[in-house]
Symmetry: C2
Subunit: 453 residues, 2 copies
């Protein structure tokens, strides 16, 4: 049970209730139902409505409510929202958002639309947001917000508390205070809780961590997330090359980063474009998925060519055709198992310092054991059903070899990809199974043709 | 660049330096190198050492340093650590840890060892930890810590600040303060930052959120994580059926939960046991992976049986054997693409309220489009290389049908699994590709035998 489950009293679906009210032209009720929901739930409801229904609902929104709505939206609805509201309204929206969310919004607009929104901003707001637009979205710079609370490193607790009460009125929430020297260079960090425990006349440095962690804006967001996990941070300052504070990243931003990185790894493994989701337009889904499947199709042509070399053997012994997919599939699946463990270990930083040779040897050993196991089982099943000891032997030996190989390739490919500067998760995108399929067919049909004919 | 990268001065690997110092019997240096590292890095170093080297290092640890080390450890090293230290040392360690980490440690011990550690605790510490042991690890109860800071709802700011300064000395960090009525029932929540902005004589309720979110201990951790993401929480109180506070979950715990859930989904998709990692013993890795591959092997026997029905056709036209894996593979991959998008959308809560029929229809449409695309390409390539219009037609039609079907099965199976109360991610564990393989072979070879002979 949690408080965000719908209360039993309002048992009807908000989508149905909104449709009803729209039919009756009762916009006051529509507005009441919608705005009673959390923005994330408004997003869910709006993406279930038809185009015309949704537009009627959107006309009920004012700038202060549009910001949270856009920030929570994703995929197709996000495009609709950015399209629906005119640049002057979006400029108002951008002014209300934190600078990191404002930058995300601007980066999702077409260039000319973004320019028009920027033109509608005040000088100060533009100065806050514009520097953020230059950083790629998946870096520390792309994730940071410019809003930080800094105090001189030599300040006393009383002064900082007073400052906090004054400036604090503009801020929704704050956990860490940064201490800077007189050139604006980061010198330390103190949480509000630690600040509270100091006597009023004490200099804040006495409760502060004067050796704080920091990152530069070009740092990859995956490394930033691992710093948060490892050091249980609430916030992390982003500094330029001279150590001056540019902004900060907060823990709630990192929850979003981790979600995104997990989706990315999962989609790579399943051979999907990372921007895909349930709501993308059908034509785009078709184009994206078909283009990824093309790799598999090309791989298929390669293995079909290999199989066709052996048409003579298959024609004479069609049981080969029945057994060969088993060799290829177990090899592919075994390779994906190994590669996934390696890629995940890399993502979590568990591979740092580990010897690639030792890791590969280990995985090869596991592959060999699995191979010997399926060699025995496979040979026994093949012999008892097909009655040919030669075929059973060839089948068993092929299984052993392909599974040993899957352990080796499943380790070597992601390790090599990473060494060469590519994303190791690309291993599963087709390269690995193309190899295991082709080699599996070649091994099994080759051995069979050599030994049985 | 980030501060946790090794400084250029200490360019040699800590593992090598520790080995050297161990060889020279210089334990002071070993201790200095190790304890200069973050506990997570100590874990990395220790898991790279041999058994005897590691044990010599562990003898240098005292109870206060053992806690963080065990908390950061995982897999094989964690088992070693829990084995290495005697119950009385572990009892000391447990006393120093937060109650949620203490409970995790106790849950990982064998029953008799856990009893002996519990017996070594003071009455108060046992009372803190024991209730946590009854909740499964993946629930709110399993994730919560008992340490909370509560004040009476009618308290004034001055009183709360004074209390905070006093009690605060025992706490490392704190963000949210819970307000309770005189029966201990949760009434509100206020962050320290919000508290600071109140005048000293103001009752804290004036700055507090008096309608706070909460969960009960049996709530699933995935839902808890989605509440943190959605509401950007720092902490979430856990209450019993009467609303009394049992403990709290903090944002840094949730980073760990999200990491775990992402690993679980990824491993399910890749057909791996969720407890697998790089460091598991080889024999265990063999047993776990072989048992998951057995599903694929059984599926392979099923499709081999189907293929063997058509030995006559294959013998007469061995090109069938070359083309049939392409039909099965594209069908399987297309199904995995669809299923992954559905499963991920479910995990992120994007499926709530969406109509299953509409979702399936959409995915079927995408599947049909992809099918028609590969139908044309496949037929053209097959005709130009093999010269048989009949075979090209059968190949193309089979591709169209299997890809349409993969869109339907990829949606229907996870949706049905979830309806029946199973983990929808199980779809990828073999069920889906078993179906697409078998149906793919049956379709292609069946159509070919019917139309071409």
């Amino acid at each position: 049970m949690s408080q965000n489950l719908p209360a039993p009293s309002s048992s009807t679906d908000p989508v149905d209730r909104i449709r009803e009210a729209l039919d009756e032209g009762d916009l006051t009720t529509v507005e009441a139902i919608l705005k009673d929901l959390h923005p994330a739930d408004q997003v869910k409801v709006l993406s279930q409505l038809g185009d015309e229904e949704r537009d009627r609902c959107l006309d009920l929104y004012e700038a202060p409510e549009i910001g949270p709505l856009i920030s929570e939206s994703f995929g197709r609805l996000r495009e609709h929202l950015l399209d629906h509201f005119p640049p002057d309204v979006l400029a108002e929206v951008v002014q209300e958002l934190d600078s990191d969310e404002a930058a995300d919004l601007l980066q999702d607009l077409e260039d000319h639309a973004a320019d028009r929104v920027l033109a509608g901003l005040s000088f100060e707001d533009r100065a806050e947001v514009e520097p953020l637009l230059s950083y790629p979205e998946d870096t520390a710079g792309g994730r940071m917000q410019r809003e930080v609370f800094v105090v001189p490193a030599k300040a006393r607790t009383r002064k900082v508390l007073a400052e906090l009460r004054k400036v604090g009125r503009d801020l929704e929430e704050l956990q860490d205070i940064y201490l800077v020297d007189n050139r604006g260079v980061l010198a330390g960090v103190i949480s509000i809780f630690q600040l509270l425990r100091l006597e009023l006349h004490t200099p804040v440095v006495e409760g502060a961590n004067m050796d704080p962690l920091f990152v530069t804006p070009e740092e990859d967001q995956e490394l930033v997330a691992s710093l948060f996990r490892k050091h249980r941070l609430h916030s992390l300052p982003v500094v330029d090359d001279t150590g001056r504070i540019l902004g900060q990243i907060t823990a709630d931003d990192i929850l979003g980063v981790m979600e995104e990185e997990a989706t990315e790894d999962l989609y790579r493994l399943a051979n999907i474009n990372e921007a895909s989701d349930l709501t993308e337009p059908i034509i785009r889904a078709f184009r994206r998925r078909a283009s990824w499947l093309t790799t598999n199709a090309v791989a298929g042509i390669l293995s079909a060519t290999i199989v066709s070399f052996f048409s003579g053997s298959i024609s004479a012994l069609p049981a080969l055709a029945a057994l060969m997919p088993i060799v290829a599939n177990l090899g592919g699946m075994g390779g994906v198992q190994t590669a996934t463990i390696i890629v995940r270990a890399m993502a979590l930083g568990h591979m740092e310092g580990a010897s690639p040779v030792r890791v590969t040897t280990r995985q090869a050993t596991v592959g060999l054991l699995i191979g010997l196991f399926f060699c025995l089982i496979g040979a026994a099943v093949a012999y008892s059903t097909l009655g040919s000891p030669g075929l059973a032997l060839v089948f068993g030996v092929s299984l052993a070899l392909i599974l040993l190989l899957s352990g080796i390739l499943g380790s070597v490919i992601p390790i090599t990809l990473k060494r060469l500067g590519f994303d190791p998760a690309l291993v599963s995108g087709g390269l690995l199974t193309t190899l295991t399929d082709s080699i599996g067919f070649l091994l099994f049909l080759g051995l069979a043709s050599w030994l049985l004919f």
